[in-house]
């Protein structure tokens, strides 16, 4: 679904037919979120602390609206939160994978690059995917070549691209309106 500025957008599964939030709505939602994060980090009810927190939240909101305006797309946080256990589990697997390899005297790795063509449109959707897949075992995204995400893999003997496509299907169902491969 193209957005008003012609860029492809990413919306949540449930919100895939909805509109992107207006700048004002985005500013309010982000400001409240940043203030909530501040309160987690600095749980204090003193007026001076709250004042500094409010200032920090306003500054963060202003910066986020400049660097990441609502028109570039949005994340569906409920769907994102539902996928959190999966991401954390992948992160655990990745840690064990590294430990297994580094403590093995034979150092069983075969590093190299793979190109992974994806259905996600360029921009926020693909960046989010790249960021999340940098947590899964054996892959680190290292930029795009001709619009195709390239990954550095620790072991080319593993079916890396199939694994990434499985992640893409999972995220496309729950989070992002991307095209499918099959």
């Amino acid at each position: 679904m193209p957005s008003s500025n012609g860029k492809p957008e990413m919306t949540g599964g449930m919100a895939s037919t909805g509109k992107l939030p207006s700048r004002k709505a985005a500013a309010i939602a982000r400001g409240i979120s940043y203030l909530a994060l501040w309160l987690i980090m600095m749980p204090s009810a003193r007026p001076t602390d709250l004042l500094v927190g409010a200032g920090a939240a306003i500054a963060a909101t202003w910066l986020s609206l400049r660097t990441f305006p609502p028109a570039t797309g949005c994340l569906h946080f409920v769907s994102m939160a539902a996928l959190m256990p999966h991401f954390i589990w992948q992160s655990v697997r990745a840690g064990f994978d590294i430990a297994r390899r580094v403590f093995d005297p034979r150092l069983p790795i075969q590093p190299g690059f793979v190109a992974c063509p994806l259905g996600f449109p360029e921009g926020l959707a693909r960046n989010t995917f790249a960021t999340i897949t940098s947590l899964i075992p054996g892959t680190v995204p290292c930029g795009e070549v001709d619009g195709v995400l390239t990954y550095h893999c620790l072991d080319l003997r593993n079916p890396v691209v199939q694994q990434l496509w499985a992640e893409e299907r999972l995220m496309a169902r729950a989070l992002i309106a991307g095209r499918r491969h099959d």
Partner: protein, 96 residues
């Protein structure tokens, strides 16, 4: 007693993963492979240390703060790893 055991086991496991990250940094042959070791093993190490320390905390607020710090480290690690990987790849300097 049981909580002490929980903390000792989980924090020790966390330390093992930090050690794995460091050993990977030394043993892996190129900069990009070392990135894998640093980001992935340390994420898990920090997570285990946080889970191990949770029963020691007095309030929910402290626990939420520690979990939030862990999530922030995971997020910043995931973002920075790909930026660093991109730069290393562009420079062509990824051989041992």
């Amino acid at each position: 007693m049981l909580l002490d055991l929980w903390t000792i086991v989980l924090v020790s496991m966390g330390v093992v993963f930090f050690l794995a990250g460091t050993v990977g940094l030394l043993r892996f042959p190129d900069a990009l492979s070392r990135l894998h070791a640093l980001t992935k093993a340390d994420n898990l190490g920090l997570g285990l240390v946080v889970i191990g320390l949770l029963p020691r905390l007095t309030g929910i607020a402290d626990g939420a703060k520690m979990i939030f710090v862990w999530l922030l480290v995971m997020l910043s690690g995931a973002c920075l790893a790909q930026l660093v990987a991109h730069l290393i790849r562009q420079s062509g300097d990824f051989k041992p």
